[in-house]
């Protein structure tokens, strides 16, 4: 979706605000939100791409106003209700429905090592053939899906060169919406800064994006 989250190339966001000796979490509640989000993902009612999309659909003004973990909190509240882990009534009362059986947590200390190490599946999948090859010039497609996508606006329609084949990955545009993993190759594509930003950009500089087969086409 062409959301406010797709920030590459936007102006007016102000200077970088650097905090010296920044703590991992700025308040205990941030750590709780982080941990709750990770623990609830273990229920496998949604995936990493759904998670990312859950932030993108925040209204733009809220997205910009909220802190990072506030966004996570709002997403988690929405998800647990939307995917049926908590009823709307329970969320409103703050109490479990006495009629609903108590669950056993999906993420526990006993299972945590598995969750810490198991994440993105292997990209080594010889049966999935690449549609492009290293050295090839490709154009990022001009697509504007209203759902989740990882093709930033600033690259659409621009031409670059494939510098590396990263192997096979799940396609976020479908996976985020439970429409299949659509496993395909992802490539590192080098775009000259001038191709992206015009003649005022440095002739030496470049931006590398990791793009799926479905994001690119032959020039």
């Amino acid at each position: 979706m062409n959301g406010v989250h797709d920030m590459g190339g936007q102006h007016g966001m102000g200077p970088v605000e650097y905090e010296k000796d920044e703590p991992v979490f700025h308040a205990p509640w941030e750590g709780r939100v982080y941990a709750l989000t990770r623990a609830m993902r273990a229920w496998r009612k949604w995936n990493l791409d759904t998670d990312r999309h859950g932030i993108e659909i925040l209204p733009p003004a809220d997205y910009l106003r909220m802190s990072y973990y506030e966004r996570w909190f709002v997403r988690l509240v929405a998800q647990v209700v939307q995917y049926g882990l908590v009823s709307k009534e329970e969320m409103e009362s703050g109490r479990p429905d006495p009629a609903s059986p108590k669950a056993t947590p999906a993420f526990t200390l006993a299972t945590s090592s598995r969750w810490f190490t198991r994440g993105i599946p292997s990209s080594d999948e010889p049966t999935v053939r690449p549609l492009f090859k290293v050295g090839q010039r490709v154009r990022a497609k001009n697509i504007n899906p209203s759902g989740h996508t990882r093709l930033p606006r600033y690259a659409r329609g621009r031409t670059g060169v494939i510098v590396r084949d990263h192997g096979v990955y799940t396609f976020p545009d479908t996976n985020a919406h439970f429409q299949g993993e659509k496993r395909q190759h992802v490539y590192s594509v080098r775009f000259a800064a001038r191709e992206l930003w015009g003649a005022d950009a440095s002739s030496r500089d470049s931006v590398y994006l990791d793009l799926w087969d479905d994001y690119i086409e032959r020039t």
């Binding site: 920030m7 966001m13 623990a39 506030e70 908590v86 479990p96 947590p105």
Partner: protein, 236 residues
């Protein structure tokens, strides 16, 4: 108190409802724009507490496991891990070769194998090449070697300008690169996670691997700083 919990979660629901529909104006806490790292109002902490209590009461989460997740991020992963990877690459050419060719395997050699680092790429700085890492779409970052990202990395100013004006961003970080240095910006749009291998600073030939690792900063491994040697007897 039940009444309190009810009130706080109801407020959260309103915001969540706004998120889901995009129609209702959210009722999130009021905050100053541009101060994303400041503490949220205390009622926000209570809302989080209410949600956690509800999820615990329903048996959906285990408090001890939550504590372990937080402990891991606060104490077990972080830029110290990345610093050790960089120092090893500086002193061991064979390791450096493996790191640049197959980063996840080389990083796992040092015992760093947790999530969000399954598919790592290490990019090397040199006298004429400077690498800079960003995630313009969200906050992708190599957790096993750097931990969780700092607020500025996740914030609009950095995400918007790193790709269009990397030299301007670097100037804000106090780095002025000459025009003959090529800048490569890595936008983490997929599941690949990037770590910059900074240049080893001069005058460090006599240092041990451990001393070298202690010089390597998070910022240098993102690409917004160079590794420097603090002056002898410098400020504590």
């Amino acid at each position: 108190m039940g009444g309190t919990r009810r009130g706080f979660l109801k407020a959260a629901m309103t915001t969540a409802g706004a998120a889901a529909t995009g129609v209702i104006h959210a009722q999130g806490p009021v905050r100053d724009l541009g101060h994303e790292h400041q503490a949220a109002p205390s009622d926000f902490a209570l809302r989080v507490k209410s949600l956690e209590s509800l999820l615990v009461d329903k048996g959906l989460v285990d408090r001890a496991a939550l504590d372990a997740l937080i402990d891991t991020m606060e104490h077990k992963v972080g830029p110290r891990n990345g610093g050790r990877v960089v120092a090893r690459a500086w002193i061991d050419p064979g390791y450096k070769k493996r790191l640049l060719e197959n980063a996840p395997v080389a990083i796992a050699e040092l015992g760093y194998t947790s999530g969000q680092g399954e598919h790592m790429v290490v990019v090397e700085n040199g006298p004429k090449v400077h690498n800079l890492v960003v995630c313009t779409l969200c906050s992708c970052y190599p957790w096993p070697v750097l931990g969780l990202p700092p607020v500025w990395y996740k914030s609009a100013p950095y995400r918007s300008r790193a790709v269009i004006d990397p030299r301007g961003i670097l100037r804000e970080f106090g780095m002025s690169l000459s025009n003959d240095v090529e800048i490569r910006v890595w936008d983490s749009t997929a599941e690949l996670r990037y770590l910059v291998l900074p240049e080893r600073p001069p005058g460090t030939d006599a240092m041990t691997e451990e001393q070298l690792a202690s010089l390597v900063t998070r910022d240098a491994m993102i690409g917004v700083a160079k590794v420097t040697v603090p002056p002898v007897g410098g400020t504590p």
